[in-house]
Amino acid sequence: MQAARQGFARVCPPVPHAGKGRVLTYAGAVQGLVPSGKPETCLVAKAAPTQRDTGAVEPAMADPVEHGITATQANSLRHGPDERGHFGGWYGGRFVAETLMPLVLELEQAYNTAKADPAFHKELDFYLRDYVGRPSPLWFARRMTEELGGAKIYMKREELNHTGSHKLNNVMGQILLARRMGRTRIVAETGAGQHGVATATVCALFGMKCVIYMGATDVERQSPNVFRMRLLGAEVVPVTAGAGTLKDAMNEAMRDWVANVADTYFLVGTVAGPHPYPAMVRDFQSVIGEETKEQMHAAEGRLPDVVVAAIGGGSNAMGIFHPFLDDPSVRLIGVEAAGCGLDSGKTAASIERGSPGVLHGNRTYLLQNADGQIDEAHSISAGLDYPGVGPEHSWLNDIGRAEYVGATDTEALDAFQLCTRTEGIIPALESAHAIAYATKIAQTLPKDTLLVVNISGRGDKDIFTVAEHLGVKL
């Protein structure tokens, strides 16, 4: 079973081209299976696309109160979540076993204290500059722009961070917090291994014990990162439950945390999990969007028109989106992994093909069946191979502030090669999904449109997977 899932077994079978229509592949999305306990207000459908098609700049929030936003917050989309950790009164929250509740509450308090402490920010800024290597550049992709002949494409170079991805932004913030909280042992889940490598790196830096849970399938397809983590001194535990991917690693990391509450800090790698993780990880990743805003202003004297980022759990996207939430002229596009196609049944597009439910501590869009059992996700990219998404994305989707689309395995592979060939930048397969959609729409946009695509990671880790899919033996 496990062996059958590896290697070519994960290549998509040929499927007829499926249109963009919202065909309800996942039964949970079918009308009538929407939870009846849910407030009616949350049944608001995806905002009508006409808002943006007609150039209207207001986010589609017909009635802010319906989404649980109080009058004081009505002018900003950046104040979420509420004190319960809910976005729009429904998504997010704290759905964990009672054993973990005191820890989650303690973490929230510790984070709020740190956030208000200038010394914490000073320390974080120091490490971000001198260890992570921030700020990361905003690069004008001249050759790709010329080849596509449309919008001006800029790339936010998160792949230039130490450890090769955006993951270190969040990990650096959380490790400093864990130290303030007196924790000595770190556990984390990882999919592609980028978060695991980033976590193992800071544990090496600060001399802390590190245990990384990684699905057995992912251990196989991301072996360079597994070796890296072990070199860094981490214990990598392969998880064989389920399909052996990120979802299973997350379950196992939570079990470890429950069993080792006294000394252990759970270092979540994305904008998901129980409150305060989604908000905290977003805050640590928002440096991406803040820099982008400044850098675009310096380069072009104005805001970008379109920002595109890949979505697995959604941390790189949330990081680049969040500083732009209150700039309604900036179109925000999250690209989910469509896998073999949105309607193929082998996808990781939780927002596009899932329905709201509760998993891993939060309520959010999930790939699930009519009985509320979680489906296995599929993506060529281990980092996007997850049946859920951060709860703030679910909310941004429902209110129409961000658009969520899909890019298939094949489109990502094509974009991977295009980016490498035209810009000399080998992107991570995760980021290649964002590039795929960005190149698709760039061709249709006027030449004065400013489009930013977040290059969330570098692709050295993926060359074996790509070679295999291209039929090249290394």
């Binding site: 949970g28 299976l33 939870p35 009846s36 306990g37 849910k38 319960r84 929250g93 704290r94 759905f95 964990v96 076993a97 009672e98 054993t99 973990l100 509740m101 005191p102 820890l103 439950a241 389920g242 979802k247 997350m250 379950n251 939570m254 079990r255 429950v258 069993a259 080792n260 509450v261 006294a262 439910g357 509760v358 998993l359 891993h360 501590g361 309520r363 999930l366 699930q368 009519a370 009985d371 509320g372 059992q373 979680i374």
Partner: protein
């Protein structure tokens, strides 16, 4: 009076605690788990916990994870679990039945409809592992309207202040998770349990059952006499798993061996002896 309250009251009058065995619905198939459920009261079950299989049981250890996988493979759904309880109720009107599981399948079913259907099937209480009181507003009202108890888990990590808060949202009985960990992995000591109980009693008048890590008859007897009941889950599921054939199918051994184990647990609980220093 609810079946749960009535049962704890009559056991208290007998001067002993309750044995609460657990079975996973549809493990390894509907027929076997229904037969087990029906035979449990005669084997000595005072209350019964039925696990509702979930694809991602993140608070459970390997034994319950495997049982949930077998149950799902055999086609377990919430309507199927409720139908099992309804079938059980045809012959048994007294033994309280508690469903234990994770929130998402209930959310997918719909809170109002689930509580109504569960009560109609003869369910008495719900234990929802990943639903702290902070998020419980989605189900508290429908459960109360349907007459279902919401049984709350409390843990060694639960502070005194939090105990009062959590237990203000509890009904039926209190489930004390005796260890910080996942199900079926380790055991608390008798001393730890003896120290924990007064803390919980100070915060509630509800009966208290102890679970997580209770395996042997002696451990069950100790827990049931220190508290008001002992939940045994992983040990029974491990026995069941041990009787399955290579394809994971039930054999002639399956029911007799699990029931024999329940009888041994019941005998010890009914004798009510506290072991001095055995881990409970």
């Amino acid at each position: 009076m609810s079946r749960i309250a009535a049962r704890f009251q009559s056991l208290a009058a007998q001067g002993r605690g309750a044995l609460i065995p657990y079975l996973e619905a549809y493990d390894p198939d509907l027929e076997t788990s229904l037969a087990l459920l029906k035979a449990m009261p005669d084997a000595g079950a005072d209350l019964i916990e039925i696990g509702m299989p979930f694809s991602d049981p993140s608070a459970d250890g390997p034994v319950i994870q495997a049982a949930a996988r077998r149950g799902l493979k055999a086609g377990a759904t919430l309507p199927g679990v409720l139908a099992m309880v309804a079938e059980f109720r045809k012959d048994n009107a007294e033994t309280p039945v508690i469903l234990m599981g994770y929130l998402n399948p209930i959310e997918a079913y719909g809170y109002d409809r689930f509580c109504t259907d569960a009560a109609k099937a003869g369910v008495d209480g719900l234990i929802i592992v990943d639903l702290p009181p902070e998020e419980a507003d989605v189900i508290e009202k429908p459960a109360e309207d349907a007459g279902l108890d919401i049984i709350r888990l409390v843990a060694p990590t639960t502070s005194d202040d939090r105990l009062r808060y959590v237990l203000s949202h509890a009904s039926g009985f209190v489930y004390y998770v005796s260890i910080t960990g996942i199900t079926g992995t380790r055991a608390a000591s008798t001393d730890d349990l003896k120290a924990a109980l007064p803390r919980i009693r100070a915060a509630t008048t509800l009966p208290v059952a102890i679970g997580f890590g209770i395996r042997s008859p002696q451990q069950a007897a100790t827990a049931a006499s220190i508290a008001d009941g002992a939940v045994v889950a992983s040990a029974l599921l491990a026995t069941l798993a041990d009787t399955l054939d290579a394809e994971g199918k039930a054999t002639a051994e399956t029911l007799p061996r699990v029931l024999e184990q329940i009888k041994a647990l019941a005998t010890a609980v009914q004798a009510g002896t506290v072991s001095a220093d055995q881990p409970a």
